[in-house]
Amino acid sequence: MLLASELGTLFRRVRTIAMLGALALVPILIAVAVKVTTAGDSGRGPAFLDQITQNGLFVAFTALVVSIPLFLPMTVGVVAGDTIAGEASHGTLRYLLVAPSGRLRLLAVKYAGAAAFCLAATSVVVVSGVIVGALLFPVRDVTLLSGDTIGPGDFAIRCVLLAGYVVLSLLGLSAIGLFISTLTSVPVGAMAATIVLSAVSQILDNLPQLEAIQPYLFSHLWLGFGDLLRQPISWDSYGQNALLQLGYVTVFGGAAVWRFLTKDVLS
Protein backbone atom coordinates (compact mmCIF):
# COMPACT_ATOMS: atom_id res chain seq x y z
CA MET A 1 0.00 0.00 0.00
CA LEU A 2 2.77 2.34 1.05
CA LEU A 3 4.87 1.11 -1.87
CA ALA A 4 2.05 1.64 -4.36
CA SER A 5 1.53 5.21 -3.22
CA GLU A 6 5.28 5.85 -3.27
CA LEU A 7 5.60 4.53 -6.84
CA GLY A 8 2.55 6.52 -7.86
CA THR A 9 4.02 9.74 -6.46
CA LEU A 10 7.43 9.04 -7.99
CA PHE A 11 6.28 8.28 -11.51
CA ARG A 12 3.59 10.98 -11.62
CA ARG A 13 6.15 13.63 -10.78
CA VAL A 14 6.98 15.90 -13.73
CA ARG A 15 10.68 15.65 -12.93
CA THR A 16 10.67 11.85 -13.18
CA ILE A 17 8.78 11.87 -16.46
CA ALA A 18 11.15 14.50 -17.86
CA MET A 19 14.19 12.43 -16.90
CA LEU A 20 12.76 9.29 -18.48
CA GLY A 21 11.93 11.31 -21.59
CA ALA A 22 15.49 12.60 -21.77
CA LEU A 23 16.80 9.05 -21.48
CA ALA A 24 14.49 7.94 -24.29
CA LEU A 25 16.02 10.68 -26.44
CA VAL A 26 19.54 9.23 -26.10
CA PRO A 27 19.06 6.30 -28.52
CA ILE A 28 16.94 8.49 -30.82
CA LEU A 29 19.69 11.10 -31.06
CA ILE A 30 22.33 8.43 -31.70
CA ALA A 31 20.28 6.73 -34.39
CA VAL A 32 19.39 9.97 -36.17
CA ALA A 33 22.97 11.24 -35.99
CA VAL A 34 24.29 8.04 -37.52
CA LYS A 35 21.53 8.07 -40.14
CA VAL A 36 22.22 11.62 -41.38
CA THR A 37 26.02 11.28 -41.43
CA THR A 38 27.14 8.85 -44.07
CA ALA A 39 30.63 8.15 -42.77
CA GLY A 40 30.19 5.14 -40.56
CA ASP A 41 33.51 3.42 -40.97
CA SER A 42 35.75 5.36 -38.61
CA GLY A 43 37.02 3.47 -35.59
CA ARG A 44 36.25 6.41 -33.33
CA GLY A 45 33.40 6.91 -30.92
CA PRO A 46 32.00 4.29 -28.57
CA ALA A 47 32.18 0.63 -29.50
CA PHE A 48 29.54 -0.60 -31.97
CA LEU A 49 28.68 2.88 -33.26
CA ASP A 50 29.87 1.86 -36.74
CA GLN A 51 27.78 -1.30 -36.68
CA ILE A 52 24.48 0.51 -36.27
CA THR A 53 24.15 1.20 -39.99
CA GLN A 54 24.29 -2.52 -40.68
CA ASN A 55 21.99 -3.57 -37.88
CA GLY A 56 19.41 -1.46 -36.08
CA LEU A 57 19.42 -3.75 -33.05
CA PHE A 58 22.75 -2.26 -32.04
CA VAL A 59 21.15 1.12 -31.34
CA ALA A 60 19.83 -0.11 -27.99
CA PHE A 61 23.20 -1.50 -27.08
CA THR A 62 25.16 1.60 -28.06
CA ALA A 63 22.68 3.80 -26.20
CA LEU A 64 23.30 1.80 -23.02
CA VAL A 65 27.07 2.11 -23.45
CA VAL A 66 26.69 5.87 -23.83
CA SER A 67 24.21 6.28 -20.96
CA ILE A 68 26.00 4.28 -18.28
CA PRO A 69 28.86 6.64 -17.43
CA LEU A 70 26.77 9.81 -17.10
CA PHE A 71 23.05 9.89 -17.89
CA LEU A 72 21.90 6.89 -15.87
CA PRO A 73 23.93 7.69 -12.71
CA MET A 74 22.73 11.30 -12.93
CA THR A 75 19.04 10.45 -13.04
CA VAL A 76 19.42 7.73 -10.41
CA GLY A 77 21.36 10.18 -8.22
CA VAL A 78 18.49 12.66 -8.46
CA VAL A 79 15.88 10.08 -7.46
CA ALA A 80 17.95 8.37 -4.74
CA GLY A 81 19.20 11.64 -3.28
CA ASP A 82 15.67 12.94 -3.06
CA THR A 83 14.23 9.94 -1.17
CA ILE A 84 14.42 11.13 2.45
CA ALA A 85 15.84 14.63 2.07
CA GLY A 86 13.01 15.57 -0.31
CA GLU A 87 10.34 14.66 2.25
CA ALA A 88 12.33 16.48 4.95
CA SER A 89 12.57 19.66 2.89
CA HIS A 90 8.83 19.61 2.15
CA GLY A 91 8.14 19.16 5.83
CA THR A 92 6.24 15.94 5.07
CA LEU A 93 8.70 13.53 6.68
CA ARG A 94 7.25 13.84 10.18
CA TYR A 95 3.72 13.24 8.92
CA LEU A 96 4.91 10.07 7.20
CA LEU A 97 6.43 8.98 10.50
CA VAL A 98 3.32 9.79 12.48
CA ALA A 99 1.52 7.07 10.55
CA PRO A 100 2.13 3.72 12.24
CA SER A 101 4.27 2.34 9.44
CA GLY A 102 7.67 2.55 11.10
CA ARG A 103 10.87 4.20 9.97
CA LEU A 104 12.44 0.96 8.73
CA ARG A 105 9.49 0.26 6.47
CA LEU A 106 9.50 3.80 5.12
CA LEU A 107 13.19 3.49 4.28
CA ALA A 108 12.65 0.12 2.56
CA VAL A 109 9.81 1.55 0.49
CA LYS A 110 11.94 4.57 -0.47
CA TYR A 111 14.76 2.28 -1.59
CA ALA A 112 12.33 0.08 -3.52
CA GLY A 113 11.11 3.22 -5.27
CA ALA A 114 14.65 4.16 -6.27
CA ALA A 115 15.28 0.61 -7.51
CA ALA A 116 12.06 0.74 -9.54
CA PHE A 117 13.31 3.94 -11.14
CA CYS A 118 16.60 2.18 -12.07
CA LEU A 119 14.54 -0.50 -13.81
CA ALA A 120 12.30 2.02 -15.55
CA ALA A 121 15.23 4.18 -16.72
CA THR A 122 17.15 1.22 -18.17
CA SER A 123 14.05 -0.21 -19.82
CA VAL A 124 13.26 3.14 -21.42
CA VAL A 125 16.73 3.30 -23.01
CA VAL A 126 16.57 -0.29 -24.28
CA VAL A 127 12.98 -0.19 -25.58
CA SER A 128 13.37 3.21 -27.21
CA GLY A 129 16.64 2.03 -28.77
CA VAL A 130 15.10 -1.13 -30.21
CA ILE A 131 12.11 0.76 -31.65
CA VAL A 132 14.08 3.59 -33.25
CA GLY A 133 16.74 1.15 -34.49
CA ALA A 134 14.13 -1.04 -36.14
CA LEU A 135 12.49 2.00 -37.77
CA LEU A 136 15.63 3.58 -39.22
CA PHE A 137 17.92 0.65 -39.99
CA PRO A 138 17.67 -2.92 -41.26
CA VAL A 139 17.15 -5.60 -38.61
CA ARG A 140 19.36 -8.61 -39.16
CA ASP A 141 20.96 -11.43 -37.28
CA VAL A 142 23.33 -10.04 -34.70
CA THR A 143 27.05 -10.73 -34.73
CA LEU A 144 28.34 -11.26 -31.20
CA LEU A 145 31.76 -10.23 -29.94
CA SER A 146 32.86 -13.83 -30.43
CA GLY A 147 32.06 -13.63 -34.13
CA ASP A 148 29.11 -16.00 -33.86
CA THR A 149 25.71 -14.94 -35.16
CA ILE A 150 22.38 -15.13 -33.34
CA GLY A 151 18.82 -14.36 -34.45
CA PRO A 152 16.71 -11.40 -33.26
CA GLY A 153 14.84 -13.66 -30.80
CA ASP A 154 18.04 -14.69 -29.03
CA PHE A 155 19.15 -11.09 -29.10
CA ALA A 156 15.93 -10.06 -27.32
CA ILE A 157 16.76 -12.47 -24.49
CA ARG A 158 20.22 -11.01 -24.24
CA CYS A 159 18.76 -7.48 -24.19
CA VAL A 160 16.67 -8.43 -21.17
CA LEU A 161 19.76 -9.86 -19.46
CA LEU A 162 21.63 -6.71 -20.40
CA ALA A 163 18.98 -4.47 -18.87
CA GLY A 164 19.08 -6.65 -15.76
CA TYR A 165 22.83 -6.19 -15.55
CA VAL A 166 22.56 -2.42 -15.80
CA VAL A 167 19.80 -2.27 -13.15
CA LEU A 168 21.99 -4.39 -10.90
CA SER A 169 24.92 -2.03 -11.50
CA LEU A 170 22.85 0.95 -10.34
CA LEU A 171 21.59 -0.61 -7.09
CA GLY A 172 24.81 0.17 -5.21
CA LEU A 173 24.65 3.82 -6.27
CA SER A 174 20.99 3.96 -5.18
CA ALA A 175 21.96 2.72 -1.70
CA ILE A 176 24.68 5.37 -1.47
CA GLY A 177 22.14 8.02 -2.52
CA LEU A 178 19.67 6.77 0.09
CA PHE A 179 22.30 7.03 2.82
CA ILE A 180 23.37 10.54 1.83
CA SER A 181 19.72 11.52 1.70
CA THR A 182 19.29 10.59 5.38
CA LEU A 183 22.15 12.91 6.32
CA THR A 184 20.60 16.15 5.14
CA SER A 185 17.34 17.94 4.63
CA VAL A 186 18.59 19.71 1.49
CA PRO A 187 17.68 17.36 -1.38
CA VAL A 188 19.84 19.16 -3.97
CA GLY A 189 22.90 18.56 -1.81
CA ALA A 190 22.19 14.83 -1.55
CA MET A 191 21.57 14.57 -5.30
CA ALA A 192 24.77 16.43 -6.15
CA ALA A 193 26.82 14.42 -3.68
CA THR A 194 25.55 11.14 -5.14
CA ILE A 195 26.25 12.19 -8.73
CA VAL A 196 29.70 13.50 -7.79
CA LEU A 197 30.50 10.23 -6.04
CA SER A 198 29.61 8.25 -9.15
CA ALA A 199 31.93 10.48 -11.19
CA VAL A 200 34.73 10.19 -8.62
CA SER A 201 34.39 6.43 -8.57
CA GLN A 202 34.71 6.28 -12.36
CA ILE A 203 37.74 8.59 -12.37
CA LEU A 204 39.49 6.52 -9.71
CA ASP A 205 38.72 3.47 -11.83
CA ASN A 206 40.78 4.97 -14.66
CA LEU A 207 43.93 5.79 -12.70
CA PRO A 208 46.41 2.96 -13.15
CA GLN A 209 48.13 3.81 -9.88
CA LEU A 210 45.02 2.81 -7.92
CA GLU A 211 44.77 -0.67 -9.35
CA ALA A 212 44.68 -2.19 -5.86
CA ILE A 213 41.36 -0.59 -4.87
CA GLN A 214 39.67 -0.63 -8.27
CA PRO A 215 37.92 -4.01 -7.92
CA TYR A 216 36.07 -2.58 -4.91
CA LEU A 217 34.74 0.57 -6.61
CA PHE A 218 31.02 0.35 -7.22
CA SER A 219 31.43 1.50 -10.81
CA HIS A 220 34.20 -0.99 -11.61
CA LEU A 221 31.98 -3.49 -13.43
CA TRP A 222 29.52 -1.04 -14.94
CA LEU A 223 30.77 -1.75 -18.45
CA GLY A 224 31.21 -5.48 -17.81
CA PHE A 225 28.03 -6.34 -19.72
CA GLY A 226 30.15 -7.05 -22.79
CA ASP A 227 30.37 -10.55 -21.33
CA LEU A 228 26.70 -11.02 -22.22
CA LEU A 229 27.56 -10.60 -25.90
CA ARG A 230 29.92 -13.54 -26.02
CA GLN A 231 29.20 -17.06 -27.16
CA PRO A 232 28.65 -18.80 -24.78
CA ILE A 233 27.65 -16.08 -22.28
CA SER A 234 30.28 -15.49 -19.64
CA TRP A 235 28.53 -15.19 -16.28
CA ASP A 236 31.69 -14.18 -14.39
CA SER A 237 31.09 -10.45 -14.35
CA TYR A 238 27.37 -10.90 -13.64
CA GLY A 239 28.20 -12.81 -10.48
CA GLN A 240 31.03 -10.51 -9.44
CA ASN A 241 28.88 -7.45 -10.03
CA ALA A 242 26.01 -8.93 -8.02
CA LEU A 243 28.37 -9.60 -5.12
CA LEU A 244 29.92 -6.13 -5.35
CA GLN A 245 26.58 -4.34 -5.47
CA LEU A 246 25.28 -6.51 -2.62
CA GLY A 247 28.25 -5.35 -0.57
CA TYR A 248 27.44 -1.70 -1.25
CA VAL A 249 23.72 -2.21 -0.58
CA THR A 250 24.58 -3.92 2.72
CA VAL A 251 27.04 -1.28 3.87
CA PHE A 252 25.22 1.86 2.81
CA GLY A 253 21.76 0.41 3.39
CA GLY A 254 22.85 -0.52 6.91
CA ALA A 255 24.34 2.92 7.46
CA ALA A 256 21.15 4.54 6.17
CA VAL A 257 18.99 2.42 8.48
CA TRP A 258 21.09 3.26 11.50
CA ARG A 259 21.22 6.95 10.70
CA PHE A 260 17.50 7.14 10.02
CA LEU A 261 16.44 5.17 13.11
CA THR A 262 18.49 7.39 15.41
CA LYS A 263 17.79 10.66 13.64
CA ASP A 264 15.82 13.44 15.31
CA VAL A 265 13.22 14.29 12.74
CA LEU A 266 12.39 17.95 13.18
CA SER A 267 10.83 18.79 9.85
Binding site: R44, T149, L223, T250, A255, W258
Partner: protein
Protein backbone atom coordinates in the same frame (compact mmCIF):
# COMPACT_ATOMS: atom_id res chain seq x y z
CA UNK B 1 22.65 7.31 23.23
CA UNK B 2 26.21 8.52 22.87
CA UNK B 3 26.81 10.59 19.74
CA UNK B 4 29.59 8.33 18.53
CA UNK B 5 28.17 4.99 19.64
CA UNK B 6 25.40 5.16 17.05
CA UNK B 7 28.00 5.11 14.29
CA UNK B 8 29.39 1.77 15.47
CA UNK B 9 27.25 -0.31 13.06
CA UNK B 10 28.24 1.98 10.19
CA UNK B 11 31.84 0.97 10.87
CA UNK B 12 31.18 -2.63 11.88
CA UNK B 13 29.18 -3.62 8.80
CA UNK B 14 31.86 -2.55 6.26
CA UNK B 15 34.49 -4.24 8.42
CA UNK B 16 32.47 -7.47 8.31
CA UNK B 17 31.99 -7.23 4.52
CA UNK B 18 35.71 -6.61 3.94
CA UNK B 19 36.67 -9.41 6.33
CA UNK B 20 34.34 -11.73 4.42
CA UNK B 21 35.83 -10.69 1.08
CA UNK B 22 39.31 -11.55 2.35
CA UNK B 23 38.55 -14.65 4.42
CA UNK B 24 36.42 -16.58 1.94
CA UNK B 25 39.12 -17.01 -0.77
CA UNK B 26 41.70 -17.86 1.93
CA UNK B 27 39.61 -20.74 3.24
CA UNK B 28 38.96 -22.05 -0.27
CA UNK B 29 42.64 -22.53 -1.13
CA UNK B 30 43.69 -24.92 1.63
CA UNK B 31 46.40 -27.28 0.36
CA UNK B 32 45.29 -30.86 -0.35
CA UNK B 33 47.31 -33.98 0.47
CA UNK B 34 48.22 -36.19 -2.49
CA UNK B 35 50.38 -39.33 -2.85
CA UNK B 36 54.00 -38.36 -3.50
CA UNK B 37 55.33 -38.38 -7.04
CA UNK B 38 58.73 -37.81 -8.58
CA UNK B 39 59.30 -35.06 -11.19
CA UNK B 40 59.52 -37.77 -13.88
CA UNK B 41 56.14 -39.20 -12.89
CA UNK B 42 54.53 -35.75 -12.96
CA UNK B 43 55.98 -35.00 -16.40
CA UNK B 44 54.83 -38.39 -17.66
CA UNK B 45 51.35 -37.51 -16.48
CA UNK B 46 51.50 -34.29 -18.52
CA UNK B 47 52.69 -36.13 -21.63
CA UNK B 48 49.93 -38.71 -21.17
CA UNK B 49 47.16 -36.11 -21.00
CA UNK B 50 46.25 -36.18 -24.68
CA UNK B 51 42.78 -36.02 -26.13
CA UNK B 52 41.29 -34.56 -22.96
CA UNK B 53 38.13 -32.53 -23.42
CA UNK B 54 37.53 -29.54 -21.21
CA UNK B 55 36.42 -25.95 -21.08
CA UNK B 56 37.76 -23.36 -18.73
CA UNK B 57 38.66 -19.79 -17.97
CA UNK B 58 42.27 -18.71 -17.72
CA UNK B 59 43.77 -15.62 -16.23
CA UNK B 60 47.10 -14.28 -17.38
CA UNK B 61 48.87 -11.57 -15.45
CA UNK B 62 52.33 -10.10 -15.69
CA UNK B 63 54.35 -8.14 -13.23
CA UNK B 64 57.43 -7.30 -15.24
CA UNK B 65 58.17 -3.90 -13.80
CA UNK B 66 57.59 -2.22 -17.14
CA UNK B 67 57.15 1.54 -16.99
CA UNK B 68 53.52 2.57 -16.68
CA UNK B 69 52.46 3.91 -20.06
CA UNK B 70 49.86 6.59 -20.54
CA UNK B 71 46.53 5.09 -21.55
CA UNK B 72 46.66 6.86 -24.91
CA UNK B 73 49.75 4.93 -25.98
CA UNK B 74 48.00 1.63 -25.47
CA UNK B 75 44.66 2.68 -26.92
CA UNK B 76 43.46 1.31 -30.24
CA UNK B 77 43.43 4.85 -31.66
CA UNK B 78 47.21 5.15 -31.50
CA UNK B 79 49.12 5.54 -34.73
CA UNK B 80 49.04 2.44 -36.90
CA UNK B 81 52.76 1.82 -36.64
CA UNK B 82 52.52 1.81 -32.88
CA UNK B 83 49.46 -0.39 -32.61
CA UNK B 84 51.16 -3.78 -32.87
CA UNK B 85 53.69 -2.82 -30.23
CA UNK B 86 50.92 -1.35 -28.12
CA UNK B 87 48.90 -4.57 -28.43
CA UNK B 88 51.89 -6.54 -27.24
CA UNK B 89 52.47 -4.16 -24.37
CA UNK B 90 48.85 -4.42 -23.37
CA UNK B 91 49.22 -8.19 -23.27
CA UNK B 92 52.24 -7.82 -21.02
CA UNK B 93 51.10 -5.10 -18.70
CA UNK B 94 47.57 -6.04 -17.70
CA UNK B 95 45.52 -8.98 -16.59
CA UNK B 96 43.94 -10.85 -19.45
CA UNK B 97 40.98 -13.19 -19.30
CA UNK B 98 41.04 -16.10 -21.69
CA UNK B 99 38.47 -18.84 -22.26
CA UNK B 100 39.43 -22.16 -23.81
CA UNK B 101 37.27 -24.95 -25.17
CA UNK B 102 39.00 -28.18 -26.11
CA UNK B 103 37.38 -31.27 -27.56
CA UNK B 104 40.14 -33.79 -28.18
CA UNK B 105 43.13 -32.94 -30.32
CA UNK B 106 41.40 -31.53 -33.38
CA UNK B 107 38.78 -29.14 -32.02
CA UNK B 108 39.88 -26.15 -30.02
CA UNK B 109 38.68 -22.64 -29.42
CA UNK B 110 40.52 -19.89 -27.57
CA UNK B 111 38.84 -16.57 -26.73
CA UNK B 112 40.75 -13.58 -25.39
CA UNK B 113 38.13 -11.51 -23.57
CA UNK B 114 38.83 -7.78 -23.83
CA UNK B 115 36.60 -4.94 -22.68
CA UNK B 116 33.70 -4.91 -25.14
CA UNK B 117 35.87 -6.81 -27.62
CA UNK B 118 37.16 -10.29 -28.24
CA UNK B 119 39.82 -12.15 -30.20
CA UNK B 120 39.17 -15.75 -31.15
CA UNK B 121 41.06 -18.68 -32.61
CA UNK B 122 38.85 -21.61 -33.61
CA UNK B 123 40.23 -24.91 -34.89
CA UNK B 124 37.94 -27.55 -36.30
CA UNK B 125 39.90 -30.36 -37.91
CA UNK B 126 42.18 -28.83 -40.53
CA UNK B 127 40.36 -25.49 -40.65
CA UNK B 128 41.49 -22.66 -38.40
CA UNK B 129 39.62 -19.37 -38.09
CA UNK B 130 40.93 -16.29 -36.35
CA UNK B 131 38.58 -13.46 -35.46
CA UNK B 132 39.17 -9.96 -34.12
CA UNK B 133 35.99 -8.15 -33.14
CA UNK B 134 37.63 -4.69 -33.03
CA UNK B 135 38.49 -4.58 -36.72
CA UNK B 136 35.86 -7.20 -37.64
CA UNK B 137 38.67 -9.15 -39.29
CA UNK B 138 38.59 -12.89 -39.87
CA UNK B 139 41.26 -15.18 -41.29
CA UNK B 140 40.65 -18.70 -42.54
CA UNK B 141 43.64 -21.01 -42.59
CA UNK B 142 43.60 -24.53 -43.99
CA UNK B 143 46.21 -26.69 -42.27
CA UNK B 144 48.25 -29.39 -43.99
CA UNK B 145 47.21 -32.92 -43.12
CA UNK B 146 49.72 -34.42 -40.75
CA UNK B 147 50.45 -37.61 -42.73
CA UNK B 148 53.76 -39.28 -41.99
CA UNK B 149 54.75 -36.91 -39.24
CA UNK B 150 52.39 -38.47 -36.71
CA UNK B 151 53.71 -42.01 -37.16
CA UNK B 152 57.02 -41.40 -35.48
CA UNK B 153 55.24 -39.67 -32.61
CA UNK B 154 53.25 -42.78 -31.75
CA UNK B 155 56.35 -44.73 -30.75
CA UNK B 156 57.13 -42.19 -28.03
CA UNK B 157 55.56 -43.19 -24.74
CA UNK B 158 54.77 -40.52 -22.18
CA UNK B 159 57.32 -41.96 -19.77
CA UNK B 160 60.15 -41.92 -22.30
CA UNK B 161 59.26 -38.42 -23.39
CA UNK B 162 59.37 -37.31 -19.75
CA UNK B 163 62.73 -39.03 -19.28
CA UNK B 164 64.12 -37.29 -22.37
CA UNK B 165 62.87 -33.93 -21.16
CA UNK B 166 64.41 -34.42 -17.75
CA UNK B 167 67.75 -35.50 -19.23
CA UNK B 168 67.72 -32.36 -21.34
CA UNK B 169 67.06 -29.91 -18.53
CA UNK B 170 68.85 -31.68 -15.66
CA UNK B 171 72.33 -30.19 -16.17
CA UNK B 172 71.14 -26.64 -15.62
CA UNK B 173 67.99 -27.11 -13.59
CA UNK B 174 67.01 -28.41 -10.18
CA UNK B 175 63.70 -30.26 -10.44
CA UNK B 176 61.46 -30.95 -7.50
CA UNK B 177 57.83 -31.68 -6.82
CA UNK B 178 57.04 -29.20 -4.10
CA UNK B 179 53.93 -28.72 -2.04
CA UNK B 180 50.64 -29.67 -3.56
CA UNK B 181 48.17 -26.92 -4.33
CA UNK B 182 44.57 -26.32 -5.30
CA UNK B 183 44.15 -24.55 -8.65
CA UNK B 184 40.64 -23.75 -9.91
CA UNK B 185 39.26 -26.15 -7.33
CA UNK B 186 41.42 -29.07 -8.56
CA UNK B 187 44.13 -30.78 -6.53
CA UNK B 188 47.44 -30.25 -8.29
CA UNK B 189 51.09 -31.25 -8.09
CA UNK B 190 53.56 -28.39 -8.26
CA UNK B 191 56.68 -29.09 -10.25
CA UNK B 192 59.33 -26.49 -9.47
CA UNK B 193 62.21 -25.87 -11.87
CA UNK B 194 64.99 -23.85 -10.27
CA UNK B 195 67.97 -22.69 -12.36
CA UNK B 196 71.30 -23.86 -10.94
CA UNK B 197 73.07 -20.74 -12.16
CA UNK B 198 72.86 -17.41 -10.36
CA UNK B 199 73.40 -15.50 -13.61
CA UNK B 200 69.77 -15.46 -14.65
CA UNK B 201 66.84 -13.26 -13.65
CA UNK B 202 64.58 -16.32 -13.38
CA UNK B 203 64.26 -17.51 -9.81
CA UNK B 204 62.06 -20.49 -10.58
CA UNK B 205 59.30 -21.80 -12.83
CA UNK B 206 56.41 -23.54 -11.15
CA UNK B 207 54.16 -25.84 -13.18
CA UNK B 208 50.95 -26.97 -11.51
CA UNK B 209 49.56 -30.21 -12.88
CA UNK B 210 46.10 -31.60 -12.27
CA UNK B 211 46.56 -34.67 -10.04
CA UNK B 212 43.75 -36.59 -11.76
CA UNK B 213 44.01 -35.69 -15.44
CA UNK B 214 47.63 -34.57 -15.84
CA UNK B 215 46.57 -31.33 -17.50
CA UNK B 216 48.86 -28.37 -16.71
CA UNK B 217 46.65 -25.95 -14.80
CA UNK B 218 49.03 -23.10 -14.09
CA UNK B 219 52.48 -21.86 -15.03
CA UNK B 220 54.15 -19.32 -12.80
CA UNK B 221 57.51 -17.68 -13.44
CA UNK B 222 59.19 -15.97 -10.51
CA UNK B 223 61.92 -13.39 -10.95
CA UNK B 224 64.86 -12.87 -8.61
CA UNK B 225 64.44 -9.97 -6.25
CA UNK B 226 60.69 -9.73 -6.72
CA UNK B 227 58.09 -11.19 -4.40
CA UNK B 228 55.13 -11.11 -6.79
CA UNK B 229 55.21 -13.61 -9.66
CA UNK B 230 56.60 -12.13 -12.87
CA UNK B 231 54.22 -14.02 -15.16
CA UNK B 232 51.27 -16.22 -14.25
CA UNK B 233 48.99 -18.09 -16.61
CA UNK B 234 46.48 -20.37 -15.04
CA UNK B 235 42.93 -21.66 -14.92
CA UNK B 236 40.51 -19.92 -12.59
CA UNK B 237 37.77 -22.38 -13.49
CA UNK B 238 37.81 -25.65 -15.40
CA UNK B 239 35.17 -28.17 -16.36
CA UNK B 240 36.10 -31.55 -17.82
CA UNK B 241 32.89 -31.90 -19.79
CA UNK B 242 32.68 -32.06 -23.58
CA UNK B 243 32.13 -28.52 -24.86
CA UNK B 244 29.13 -27.71 -27.07
CA UNK B 245 29.97 -28.85 -30.63
CA UNK B 246 28.44 -25.64 -32.05
CA UNK B 247 31.33 -23.64 -30.59
CA UNK B 248 33.69 -25.11 -33.16
CA UNK B 249 31.42 -24.42 -36.15
CA UNK B 250 32.76 -20.99 -36.93
CA UNK B 251 32.19 -19.05 -40.10
CA UNK B 252 32.89 -15.42 -40.78
CA UNK B 253 29.92 -13.19 -39.93
CA UNK B 254 28.48 -10.95 -42.64
CA UNK B 255 30.33 -7.70 -43.09
CA UNK B 256 33.65 -9.08 -41.86
CA UNK B 257 36.91 -8.66 -43.73
CA UNK B 258 38.01 -12.20 -44.53
CA UNK B 259 41.46 -13.33 -45.65
CA UNK B 260 42.13 -16.91 -46.68
CA UNK B 261 45.38 -18.82 -46.37
CA UNK B 262 45.76 -22.35 -47.69
CA UNK B 263 48.67 -24.28 -46.19
CA UNK B 264 47.39 -27.73 -47.17
CA UNK B 265 49.73 -27.88 -50.20
CA UNK B 266 52.68 -26.29 -48.46
CA UNK B 267 55.59 -28.72 -48.18
CA UNK B 268 57.93 -28.88 -45.26
CA UNK B 269 61.55 -28.01 -46.01
CA UNK B 270 63.38 -31.31 -46.33
CA UNK B 271 66.76 -30.54 -44.87
CA UNK B 272 67.88 -28.48 -47.87
CA UNK B 273 69.63 -25.81 -45.87
CA UNK B 274 72.07 -25.29 -48.73
CA UNK B 275 69.27 -23.63 -50.66
CA UNK B 276 68.87 -20.88 -48.08
CA UNK B 277 70.18 -17.66 -49.56
CA UNK B 278 73.34 -16.22 -48.09
CA UNK B 279 71.65 -13.07 -46.87
CA UNK B 280 69.28 -15.03 -44.66
CA UNK B 281 72.18 -17.03 -43.28
CA UNK B 282 73.98 -13.91 -42.20
CA UNK B 283 70.91 -12.66 -40.38
CA UNK B 284 70.52 -15.81 -38.30
CA UNK B 285 70.72 -15.11 -34.57
CA UNK B 286 73.60 -16.58 -32.58
CA UNK B 287 73.67 -17.43 -28.89
CA UNK B 288 76.13 -16.73 -26.11
CA UNK B 289 76.24 -18.84 -22.96
CA UNK B 290 74.19 -21.92 -22.06
CA UNK B 291 71.16 -22.90 -20.06
CA UNK B 292 69.14 -20.27 -18.29
CA UNK B 293 71.65 -17.47 -18.85
CA UNK B 294 71.69 -17.91 -22.66
CA UNK B 295 71.80 -14.63 -24.55
CA UNK B 296 70.41 -14.44 -28.07
CA UNK B 297 72.25 -12.03 -30.37
CA UNK B 298 70.30 -10.79 -33.37
CA UNK B 299 72.67 -9.34 -35.95
CA UNK B 300 72.11 -5.87 -37.34
CA UNK B 301 69.34 -5.89 -39.94
CA UNK B 302 70.48 -4.79 -43.37
CA UNK B 303 67.27 -2.91 -44.02
CA UNK B 304 66.30 0.04 -41.90
CA UNK B 305 63.66 -1.91 -40.01
CA UNK B 306 65.34 -1.45 -36.66
CA UNK B 307 65.89 2.21 -37.31
CA UNK B 308 62.17 2.51 -38.01
CA UNK B 309 61.50 0.81 -34.71
CA UNK B 310 63.78 3.14 -32.83
CA UNK B 311 62.08 6.20 -34.23
CA UNK B 312 58.73 5.13 -32.78
CA UNK B 313 57.36 7.03 -29.84
CA UNK B 314 56.91 3.94 -27.72
CA UNK B 315 60.54 2.99 -28.12
CA UNK B 316 61.70 6.15 -26.43
CA UNK B 317 59.25 5.68 -23.58
CA UNK B 318 60.30 2.12 -22.90
CA UNK B 319 64.06 2.18 -23.20
CA UNK B 320 66.75 3.92 -21.26
CA UNK B 321 70.19 4.93 -22.49
CA UNK B 322 73.05 2.74 -21.25
CA UNK B 323 76.69 2.44 -22.26
CA UNK B 324 76.77 0.83 -25.71
CA UNK B 325 73.12 1.36 -26.66
CA UNK B 326 69.66 1.60 -25.18
CA UNK B 327 68.13 -1.09 -23.00
CA UNK B 328 64.81 -2.36 -21.74
CA UNK B 329 65.05 -3.88 -18.30
CA UNK B 330 62.13 -5.93 -17.01
CA UNK B 331 62.15 -8.13 -13.94
CA UNK B 332 62.46 -11.22 -16.13
CA UNK B 333 64.00 -10.34 -19.49
CA UNK B 334 66.43 -7.68 -20.65
CA UNK B 335 66.85 -6.36 -24.18
CA UNK B 336 69.83 -4.34 -25.36
CA UNK B 337 69.64 -2.42 -28.62
CA UNK B 338 73.36 -1.99 -29.29
CA UNK B 339 74.58 1.10 -31.10
CA UNK B 340 75.91 -1.05 -33.95
CA UNK B 341 72.42 -2.34 -34.70
CA UNK B 342 72.60 -5.70 -32.98
CA UNK B 343 69.85 -6.68 -30.56
CA UNK B 344 70.69 -8.81 -27.53
CA UNK B 345 67.98 -10.60 -25.56
CA UNK B 346 68.22 -12.77 -22.49
CA UNK B 347 66.82 -13.62 -19.07
CA UNK B 348 69.85 -11.91 -17.57
CA UNK B 349 70.66 -8.44 -16.18
CA UNK B 350 71.50 -5.69 -18.67
CA UNK B 351 75.12 -5.71 -17.48
CA UNK B 352 75.49 -9.28 -18.76
CA UNK B 353 74.13 -8.19 -22.15
CA UNK B 354 76.61 -5.30 -22.26
CA UNK B 355 79.43 -7.71 -21.48
CA UNK B 356 78.28 -10.06 -24.26
CA UNK B 357 78.02 -7.16 -26.72
CA UNK B 358 81.65 -6.38 -25.96
Amino acid sequence: MNRYARWIPAVAVPALVVAGAIAVPAVASAAPTLPEKSPAQVLAMVADAKGVSYSGTLEQSSNLGLPQLPASAASPHAAASDSTAADLLQLLSRTNRIRVYVDGETKQRVQVLDDLAERDVVRNGSTVWTWDSKGRKATKVTLPSKGAATKSDSTVTPASLAAKLIAAVQPATQLSVSSTASIAGRDAYQLTMTPKTAGTLVRDVVLSVDAKTGLPLQVRVDATGQKAAAVTVGFTAIDYGKPDAKLFDFSAPSGAKVTTKDLSQAKRPEGNHGAVPQGADAARPSTVGTGWSTIAVLPAASDDRSRGLQSQKLFGQLTQKVAGGSAVQTSLVSVLFADDGRVLVGAVPVSALQAAAG
